[in-house]
């Protein structure tokens, strides 16, 4: 087995010389809408996507709600007000396909460079990939094999055209258009993303994966992902992201909705490596994302695993609504911040059904002058008899100029709930470093070893190849934060 065909290659050794090796810009002719946001732009996006009438209306309704909303100020992140009229909401590569149905070589090259081969001959074994470039899905691999099992895995635009009833049935049922400022914005202008539908009783045989790439300048990326697992179905989905290195900030406001019916399981893994800006905090992606799962049926399970190592600002709380009896929600997170990065991330577990249980394992690592906060809510409603939660939030500080904060909130409205909460904050210990170094391992490798050990409980939740890449990626990020 060679590396290239079995792993989702986010890093290679040659990348070690470069701090952020995804900072390149692809020269692709774009089909763009003018900057700015109004009802005409929303209509134009919908028209570009050839969407049904109801969808256009849905977007417009979301847009009107967004206009009345305030952006959230409660997070521990600071940034100047965003001028929403100075953002381009639609930019798509003009020629995605050459005659004969081959993917445009420049685009294929871009994804190749990112380690995501999208041409048929180079497909990754065991992973079906949907590649999203700015506002458009470029290619989805392994389609026929999935179709045989009744699995739908395609871009959201295609889903709206070919499976409108399914989309209509589920879209916005977990994250309503008016949920929050960024979710409303996304609902109005989302351009692409992935749609996955796993029918009753089917176990998806490969990992489904979407790779998001922001390329165009001054363009926001607003993708929408919807995953539905019917009764007894299983799917593991992985998401990766990168963007070019630019001096101005770019907005990424995604919405992800997961729906698990009775006995279904959805495992959602993210490795987020958006461009994070430079030492002075110049540039980088604003990663303002709403992710929520709904365990709708009994005995269902939704598991979020995230490794967040990029983005200038992260505002993200993948959550689970545990409505079905005996349903299970999990959140495993590693958030690494460096330089002037700011991360305010965590989860919400809302227990509604009986005997529901949730696990939260959060590992925050801060270096440089960064700020890293965990924010979590565990809410147990009166109906959630015998609900259980176990939370463990650990923070590690590297150096003296970074900060870590933990804001856990527990609201239990039943006396039968069992809720455990552990939290630690530690400086990477001088004694640990000395001990490891005393065995011949240099300071950088020693730090990396200790941090990897610290994140072990989360990394082991990732699909195997992805976990190897996540470890390498974290090592690479650490190289520039020691000493």
């Amino acid at each position: 087995m060679s590396d290239t065909d079995t792993t989702f290659k986010l890093e290679t050794d040659s990348a070690l010389v470069q701090e952020y090796k995804y900072g390149f810009v692809s020269d692709v002719e774009a089909d763009e809408l003018p900057k700015g946001l109004n009802e005409d732009i929303v209509r134009a996006i919908s028209a570009k996507k050839k969407e049904p009438e109801w969808m256009t209306e849905w977007r417009l309704k979301a847009f009107r709600r967004w206009q009345k909303k305030e952006y959230p100020r409660w997070a521990k992140v600071q940034y100047p007000p965003i001028d929403y009229q100075d953002i381009r909401y639609y930019s798509a590569p003009k020629n995605t396909l050459k005659s004969g149905g081959e993917v445009d070589p420049e685009l294929a090259k871009t994804f190749e460079k990112l380690g995501i081969p999208i041409e048929e001959r180079n497909h990754l074994a065991g992973v079906a990939v949907d590649a999203v470039f700015d506002s458009m899905s470029i290619a989805t691999t392994h389609r026929e094999m999935l179709a045989e099992k009744g699995i739908i895995f395609c871009s959201m635009s295609e889903a709206l055209q070919h499976h409108p009833d399914l989309v209509r049935k589920y879209l916005g049922t977990v994250v309503p258009p008016g949920d929050n400022f960024y979710a409303a914005l996304n609902s109005a202008v989302f351009s692409d993303g992935s749609f996955c539908f796993i029918p009753k009783g089917v176990r998806c045989p490969v990992e489904l994966s979407t790779y998001f790439r922001i390329n165009a300048r001054d363009t926001g990326q607003f993708e929408r992902t919807l995953i539905v697992a019917e009764e007894g179905a299983y799917v593991s989905y992985i998401e990766g992201c990168t963007a070019p290195q630019r001096d101005n900030n770019q907005l990424h406001a995604a919405v992800v909705e997961l729906i698990a019916l009775e006995g279904a399981q959805i495992k959602y893994s993210t490795v987020q490596n958006w461009y994070a800006g430079d030492e002075n905090g110049q540039g980088g992606i604003y990663n303002f994302v709403t992710k929520r799962g709904h365990c709708r049926g009994a005995n269902s399970k939704i598991s979020w695993t995230q490794v967040e190592v990029g983005a200038a600002i992260t505002w993200k709380y993948p959550s689970v609504i545990l409505e079905g009896d005996n349903s299970v929600g999990e959140f495993y997170s590693v958030a690494f911040t460096n330089k002037k990065m700011q991360a305010d991330t965590g989860t919400k577990m809302v227990h509604i059904g009986k005997n529901t249980s949730s696990t939260i394992i959060s590992k925050g690592i801060s270096a440089g002058e960064s700020a890293n906060s965990y924010r979590g809510l565990v809410r147990v409603l009166p109906s959630a008899l015998n609900a259980r939660n176990h939370t463990c939030c650990d923070s590690m500080l590297i150096g003296d100029t970074c900060s870590a904060n933990t804001y856990p909130v527990i609201e239990a409205e039943t006396s039968t709930a069992i809720i455990e909460h552990e939290a630690t904050t530690s400086k990477i210990s001088e004694e640990q470093l000395f001990y490891v170094q005393s065995r011949g391992i240099d300071e950088e490798s020693a730090t990396s070893l200790i941090v990897n050990g610290f994140c072990k409980d989360v990394f082991k939740e990732l699909p195997l190849e992805f976990s190897v890449e996540a470890i390498k990626l974290l090592e690479l990020k650490l190289e520039h934060s020691v000493g």
Partner: protein, 257 residues
């Protein structure tokens, strides 16, 4: 280098921590094949000496040299000292959660002997044999390093690391403290496997008990940051019988007990 070249020599070593002078001119020479014991009352600077030899960042060397393998190692980082063949068995080994014993030892062995020098299968085989020798359960291979280990298990793990990394000079910082008689026997068995003509050993201890298992050729008594007296095996018996006071008097210094 002839066989008796002093490959390890501490010269006039002075060190302090947070403005408190602890070592005040330590001199000590170890030749290959020799086992030295270092004893002394609480607060005399024994553990500081072992930490300074290995390069703990909390201590500042204010004067003197530590010569090992022909160079002054005080200028080197702890990892570079280890790669030269220096080893410290810690008095209080720390835990590294999430990193298995096998992974840690393989990383350390790769650092010491060069990446790729030891094949993984061969490495694990040797590790299993060494663990058996130290009467450790094989399950330790996959446990996280020192995480939840008992005091005795941690000390055995230190000796396992020593056997794996094959140092040429080892310093044992009160490895015997807190060990029951069986554990002491096992630890000593491990150490004695290392002892040979090309290996130097410095055993720092409070109790002469371990010296019945690891026979030192030399004994030094550290008092108030200096070697107050050195001698052969006979000195061990005298210390056992009469304590340190007579040495202190002879040395002519006021020392806090």
């Amino acid at each position: 280098m002839s066989e008796k070249t002093p490959f390890f020599e501490i010269r006039n070593l002075h060190a302090k921590t947070e403005d408190k002078a602890i070592l005040k001119g330590v001199n000590l020479t170890i030749l290959p094949g020799e086992t030295h014991a270092l004893m002394g009352p609480n607060g005399s600077g024994k553990s500081t000496l072992s930490n300074v030899i290995m390069g703990h960042p909390a201590y500042e060397v204010t004067d003197g040299e530590v010569i090992f393998q022909g160079q002054n190692i005080l200028e080197l980082d702890p990892d570079a000292r280890a790669r030269l063949g220096l080893f410290l068995a810690f008095q209080y080994p720390v835990a590294i959660p999430g990193i298995s014993v096998a992974k840690f030892l393989k990383s350390a062995a790769d650092a010491r002997f060069g990446q790729g020098t030891i094949k993984p299968a061969q490495f694990i085989k040797q590790l299993r044999e060494d663990m058996k020798f130290l009467e450790m359960s094989e399950a330790f291979i996959n446990r996280f390093l020192n995480d939840g280990f008992s005091g005795g298990e941690k000390k055995r793990m230190e000796i396992l690391q020593m056997l794996t990394l094959k140092p040429v000079l080892a310093v044992m910082d009160e490895t015997d403290s807190g060990l029951d008689i069986d554990a002491l026997r096992i630890v000593s068995k491990g150490v004695n496997r290392m002892v040979g003509p090309n290996f130097g050993l410095l055993v720092i201890t409070h109790y002469e008990r371990i010296l019945r298992y690891i026979a030192p050729s030399h004994l030094h008594v550290l008092i108030d940051g200096q070697v107050a007296m050195s001698g052969g095996p006979d000195l061990v018996k005298e210390v056992e019988k009469n304590g340190y006071d007579w040495i202190r008097e002879k040395f002519g210094k006021e020392v806090l007990v």
